[in-house]
Symmetry: C2
């Protein structure tokens, strides 16, 4: 099983989970700069979040700082990477090798953060049988057989919206437990299935709107 | 100026802005299926959001439905695409042609949602002077000169965290008004600059954590 058991993570709130990577990147930067210790006050000054909030968020992570000195930088990086699940590989399939799907396959950066895409599925005959960035593209019909061999429980969804729900159901029936949904479609899943929505287009919409407001001022 | 003036958008809340693309993708799907009308009740059933919430969200958009029948599907698609800024092109530069940056340049899908990346900047001599998916890669030193000619006010940030803040400042000094930040680094900007954070890694962290919880149950 590719998933390790984290301690004390049962009730960690999503806003905390979203902030922890900020602290991690800041700690990484301090480590690069050769800083041996880093305090929540220092992080606070650099990323403009209350030091008390940072200390509270870090209390979910199994690390203790020293008064006046703070956390050991290298240790904090390690503990955070570990806690966030970036240090052990989570095997995933990608569904839909279109423009965005192909782009994600080409992004080797994901593997540095614990996501290893081990196969992709599509029906396009120009793609099936090829590899992209070393990742094999299979015909969608092969999914049910493949997943029995490969130890995969994450699916990355980058199909057209018209088949997003259908493919979701296929994934869940095959044994996928978590879906990273890049489509702008809101998929329906059984209660025990994890869905992470990352709609680049929704983010674009927010950015365009805010930019438009800013320009009008 | 590439930015159009939307009406009545001054105070549209971010959660509404994030939900509107869901309604849009649903309406698109209904349009593909040949449905002439679509009601908030129908959308509600399909994406599991309260019909009253949908009606409220759509009230920000300049469209009126007919009692019992709902909205004209094609018109709703048009009005939403327009409102969300997907129908007119927003010119952008991308900074940092690494793995993720290169992947985003290859993703032609963004242009269907109103973002046209017209140039990229990097210092890597293997990349400078090349084009990726038709988009020229310039040396970072050329930015200040380029932006005077190109009409660009959006910057996509995909540089390493160690230079994220430095490049941000360079962008802002050059005249960039909105930054789409894909780095896990929390950048600091002047008040009038729009920042849209899209950290794939933060989303991964949330998904890994939730998956881990779900498996333990």
């Amino acid at each position: 099983m590719a998933i390790r058991n984290h301690k004390n993570v049962d009730k960690i709130p999503e806003p905390t989970l979203r902030r922890l990577p900020w602290y991690l990147s800041n700690a990484k930067l301090m480590k690069e700069k050769g800083e041996k210790y880093i305090s929540s006050t220092q992080i606070s000054r650099q990323i403009n979040i209350d030091a008390s909030q940072i200390a509270k968020d870090l209390s979910f992570v199994n690390i203790s700082g020293r008064t006046r000195v703070g956390y050991e930088t290298e240790h904090l990086v390690q503990v955070l990477e570990d806690f966030l699940g970036f240090t052990n590989m989570h095997r995933a399939y990608l569904f839909g090798v279109g423009s965005l799907g192909g782009a994600l396959l080409s992004d080797s950066g994901l593997s540095h953060f614990g996501l290893e895409i081990v196969g992709a599925f599509d029906v396009n005959p120009d793609l099936v049988g090829k590899t992209i960035n070393g990742i094999p593209v299979y015909h969608s019909d092969e999914f049910e057989e493949r997943i029995k061999q490969d130890q995969v429980n994450i699916g990355v969804l980058t199909v057209p919206i018209s088949i997003a729900q259908m493919i979701t159901e296929k994934m869940v029936d095959g044994g996928i437990k978590a879906i990273w949904n890049f489509t702008p479609f809101r998929i329906r899943v059984p209660e025990n299935i994890v869905v992470q929505n990352t709609s680049l287009y929704a983010h674009l919409a927010v950015m365009f709107n805010r930019l438009n407001e800013a320009i009008k001022k």
